[in-house]
């Protein structure tokens, strides 16, 4: 359902991502691993077209994102939920409004204003059920910035679910939580993916977590795919190559 062919992304004239081929089946759960700066976020953002491709592209159900008109792109994006690393909740708003924002792709300005001022009862009910499902049902009417980091993350998950996604893209969802919580969060995402049938693409820099939980791993290093396989097929060679330090890297950062 999601397919990448000959994708190239440039930033400031430098190629930061080059992926020849990558395909995800409906409901499939995949983790992208690699050191920071490898292009994991760029890969995820390419999948919903918020990072434009310099060449090639991403196709959803056989349609290239770059070929879509605004209407189609909007509809497609509403089925591609994205949870950024910083969550990007609106801190001043109540939790319920942030969750309802996940469904804006299917409505107009009026939908947005209603979510803000006086949500429909059915929408509120659904938001509450999703929040309940991720464990923060009691926070429905709290101001979002009054929540702890872990609770905010769960709100962001509920927001993603509210749109009824077919693919959920989560960028480093456990970057800022302790190891115990990290495992719980990932397990929750996997469980939800199975339960609701969406495909899951998660970027992680913690390889151990990824190996233990995901059936398919993508290794990304300096914008290129090093491997695409099951954790059992992963050899020492691949792992060493993924995290090896090489002298040219420091120069590049300057």
């Amino acid at each position: 359902m999601l397919e990448i062919n000959d994708l190239r992304v440039d930033y400031d004239g430098r190629t930061v991502l080059a992926v020849d081929h990558l395909a995800m089946a409906p409901g499939e759960c995949v983790a992208v691993v690699g050191p920071s700066g490898a292009g994991k976020t760029t890969l995820l953002r390419s999948c919903n077209g918020t990072v434009p491709a310099a060449a090639g592209g991403v196709a959803i159900n056989g349609r290239l994102l770059s070929d879509m008109g605004e209407r189609e792109l909007r509809r497609t994006r509403s089925e591609l939920a994205f949870i950024p690393q910083d969550l990007a909740l609106v801190p001043e708003l109540r939790v319920v409004a942030n969750v309802l924002a996940g469904g804006f792709g299917r409505g107009g300005l009026l939908t947005a204003l209603r979510a803000l001022l006086k949500p429909r009862r059915a929408d509120t009910q659904r938001a509450f059920e999703l929040l309940q499902r991720v464990g923060v049902g009691d926070k429905l009417y709290q101001r979002s910035d009054k929540l702890s980091g872990g609770e905010q993350q769960r709100v962001a998950v509920a927001r993603a679910l509210f749109g009824g996604p077919r693919v959920l893209l989560a960028d480093e969802p456990v970057a800022s939580v302790d190891p115990e919580r990290a495992r719980d969060t990932l397990a929750l995402l996997l469980e939800l993916a199975r339960e609701q049938g969406f495909a899951l693409l998660v970027s992680l820099h913690n390889l151990e977590l990824a190996r233990g939980l995901f059936g398919r791993l993508l290794g990304l290093r300096r914008g290129r795919l090093l491997f695409d396989c099951a954790p059992a097929e992963l050899g020492d060679y691949e792992l060493e190559a993924l995290y090896a330090l090489d002298p040219s890297e420091d120069e590049q950062r300057d």
Binding site: N48, E79, L109
Partner: protein, 291 residues
Amino acid sequence: MSSATDSRAGTRRAVVGAIAAAGLASAALLSAQGQLALPGLDSLELLARFFSHALRPALDYGSPFVPVGAPPLLLQVATATWRTVQLAVAAMSLAVPVALLLGFAGASAWWRLPGPGGRAVLRRLGPLVYAPARVVMTLARSVHELLWALLFLAAVGLSDTAAVLAIAIPYAGTLGKVFSEMIDEAPRDAAVQLTGSGATAAQAFSVALLPRALPDMAAYSFYRFECALRSAAVLGFFGPETLGKFIRLAWNESLYAELWTYLYALFALIAVSDMASRALRQRFLGETPAR
């Protein structure tokens, strides 16, 4: 790396140096015109007499020449204070809605946000709305309310309506400009996130940008209301029966005790409006007292 830091420090030195030079130059210019000379004995005596009444404001008329039928002094003060509030409220209730319209039109966020949903139309339409809005705001606020008042005075005489307009016009311009900047400076991460999951620019603008600018916009409006109270008081010098009119009369008659009564009324008015604005913001915007 170090050369960049050096050049930045160099720029900073140049800017600070230029500001200091400008300050020295203006001081030299002013003293050349004799403006910085010490006040004469007469004016010192006047000041002394004025301040000697600071702790003894009048509670009743001190002069024997009270017009027949004049209300008691304290009632007069209360009426003038109430008139000042009315004028300021009327001016702000005109200025804020106009400023909201101008501020939205003069912000670039609503047509520069990424994302689908009429984006192409907005991109083309944006500058056509944005530029005129900024010109109108600049024109409105570049003329001070006292100048507007003088213009109206010359044209139609300074009625209460004219006084309200004299305040509302420049205030709409200033409020609109600041509103537009607050909207444009609100963090855009949530708005960008929303457009990435299918929201239109209009949705992202109204849900992810406006609510973030709103507390600042409200705080600034309250501050401008305070300024409007002062302006309304001052416009009394030209006719309307606000605190300024009676301050001027008392000054002309050298009735310093009464003058202080009116000044304290103005002071109390500003203090009360400050407390009220803080209470309102806490109640409706959930701000913590620290802010």
